[in-house]
């Protein structure tokens, strides 16, 4: 049987964000459900239309099962592979495949977390016996990568800080972003060190928040009230789980997921109008810009200076303010999708990138362990 490429086969027709930031008094599933309700309204669909559920919610025992019970859905397609924060981008691939194969007609990707108000530290995985005695935290792993990048390529703390400064400048254009005060390079450098070379302002926020994305096949997408945004390419790659097992601390699996996603989309990095890169830490953005082909390996620090990725720069990255300044519960991945869809709909208001037709959302999970790249486009680029 001939199987068509996934390019353009499925489209996002609904997105929803819960209240996010600091939202005390809500459970993970309540924030998830609020986002789902808003996504259904956005899509003009009813809950009973959903027949595919893709969910990852960190501390739950059977997250996708609980999601279905909570929403009162008995879907035909159920998926909940846990890749950490990139899980939601990975769901794009499986949702698109399930839709293409007509196993389901309306796929819901859902997430919610009260990490901030519930006092949950993201990445609280059980360490393997070979690492448990050293007390390493999630930030330690990213700090080890950043330290190696600085050693090999002369990347500086000032360059890392540029990522946080750019994210904040975007957040200042987003009324919903949690952190909107002005931020300078000096502020980042002088803030509390968490794990050398990363200060607290090189680290993502810990917030509350939920998100939901609704996808249908392209042939049905035109019937919805919103402008459908088509999935053009998606690819996932895993390189390790534990940071000591990462083959090269300065090269992530995005160097593989990126080219495969671009190939499926029939696009090059230069075709992308707006990027959402999972910025759990400032080093992430630098690594992903390199690995996705925006500059050569080692040149990411120089690339992000002079405001290149900030408002007014030549490459808009993390226009919502990112995990660094807008929102980051336990897992941020779904928010990269939602911001990309908002930009391609032309609905990003003050932070709107003019004439954005192609967007890239990239997810990261674990300790730089799982990388998933997705490319979206409007009907103009199908």
């Amino acid at each position: 049987m001939f199987v068509e490429s996934l390019r353009g086969q499925a489209a996002v027709v609904g997105i929803g964000l819960s209240e996010f930031g600091i939202v005390p008094g809500y459970t993970h599933f309540e924030l998830m459900a609020q986002a789902v309700d808003r996504a259904l309204t956005d899509a003009g669909l009813k809950k009973s239309d959903i027949d595919g559920v893709f969910a990852a919610i960190e501390p739950a025992n059977l997250p996708v099962v609980m999601t279905c019970e909570y929403l009162g859905i008995r879907p035909k397609v159920i998926e909940g592979t846990m890749l950490g924060g990139s899980s939601f981008l990975n769901f794009l691939q499986w949702a698109a495949l399930a839709l293409q194969a007509r196993l389901c007609n309306v796929a819901l990707i859902a997430y919610g977390s009260n990490a901030r108000s519930g006092g949950i530290r993201p990445g609280g995985f059980t360490p393997i016996p070979y690492e448990v005695n050293y007390g390493a935290r999630l930030v330690s792993a990213y700090a080890l990568s950043a330290a190696r990048h600085m050693h090999e390529y002369g990347t500086t703390r000032e360059q890392l800080a540029q990522v946080a400064v750019a994210a904040r400048a975007w957040a200042r254009k987003n009324p919903k972003a949690l952190m909107r005060d002005p931020l300078t390079t000096e502020d980042v450098l002088r803030s509390r060190m968490v794990s050398d070379p990363l200060t607290v302002l090189d680290c993502c926020l810990v917030t509350d928040g939920g998100g939901a994305v609704i996808m249908t096949r392209a042939d049905r997408a035109k019937d919805h009230c919103t402008k459908p945004i088509y999935l053009l390419g998606v690819a996932a790659e895993i390189s390790h789980q534990h940071i000591a097992q990462m083959e090269n601390l300065t090269v992530t699996a995005a160097a593989h997921s990126g080219p495969r996603a671009f190939a499926m989309a029939g696009m090059n990095p230069s075709d992308i109008d707006v990027l959402a890169l999972y910025d759990a830490f400032s080093i992430n953005t630098i690594l992903f810009l390199e690995d996705l082909g925006y500059c050569r390996k080692g040149e990411g620090g120089a690339f992000v200076t002079d405001g290149r990725i900030a408002p007014g720069g030549t490459l808009p990255v993390n226009t919502n303010g990112g995990g660094l300044s807008c929102v980051h519960p336990g897992m941020y991945g779904i928010f990269t999708i939602i911001e990309t869809i908002m930009q391609l709909r032309g609905a990003a208001e003050e932070r709107q990138v003019r004439d954005a037709k192609v967007g890239l959302a990239h997810g990261n999970g674990g300790s730089l362990s799982t990388q998933v790249t997705s490319v979206f486009g409007t009907a103009d680029v199908l």
Partner: protein, 121 residues
């Protein structure tokens, strides 16, 4: 007894050993049932040199009442594999990438695990 239990028992007996693959001849860490490089199950234990260099290092900050700041390092062993550990016997700001280190088996809180000391020139 599986490789993990074997490794722990060797450590408890004061020996830091690595597995080496009989098919592709690479050393591996952490201990496994199958070689992560070639998939062979023909893995044997060999004495490790215990020497290596710091591949990357960070000082993770912690409140004094919780034990204070601590080093986390990734060591590249002479035999090739890397492992997470920490460097002892040197001020945190003097621990640099490339530093030559040697293993020492630490015993704390009923746990036995390798740490690394700088090799004096």
């Amino acid at each position: 007894m599986g490789p993990e239990e074997s490794y722990q028992r060797k450590l408890a007996a004061g020996q830091f050993e690595l597995q080496r693959c009989g098919a592709c001849h690479k050393h591996i860490f952490y201990p496994r049932f199958l070689c992560p490089h070639c998939g062979s199950s023909y893995l044997t234990w060999v004495a490790a040199s215990g020497e290596g260099t710091v591949y990357s290092t960070t000082v993770t900050r912690r409140k004094a009442e919780s034990g204070g700041d601590f080093n986390v390092a990734i060591i590249e062993l002479k035999e090739g594999p890397r492992l997470m550990s920490r460097i002892e016997g040197l001020a945190a700001d003097r621990i640099k990438i490339g530093l030559a280190v040697r293993v020492r088996i630490a015993r704390e809180h009923d746990q036995v695990f390798p740490v690394f000391d700088p090799i004096d020139d």
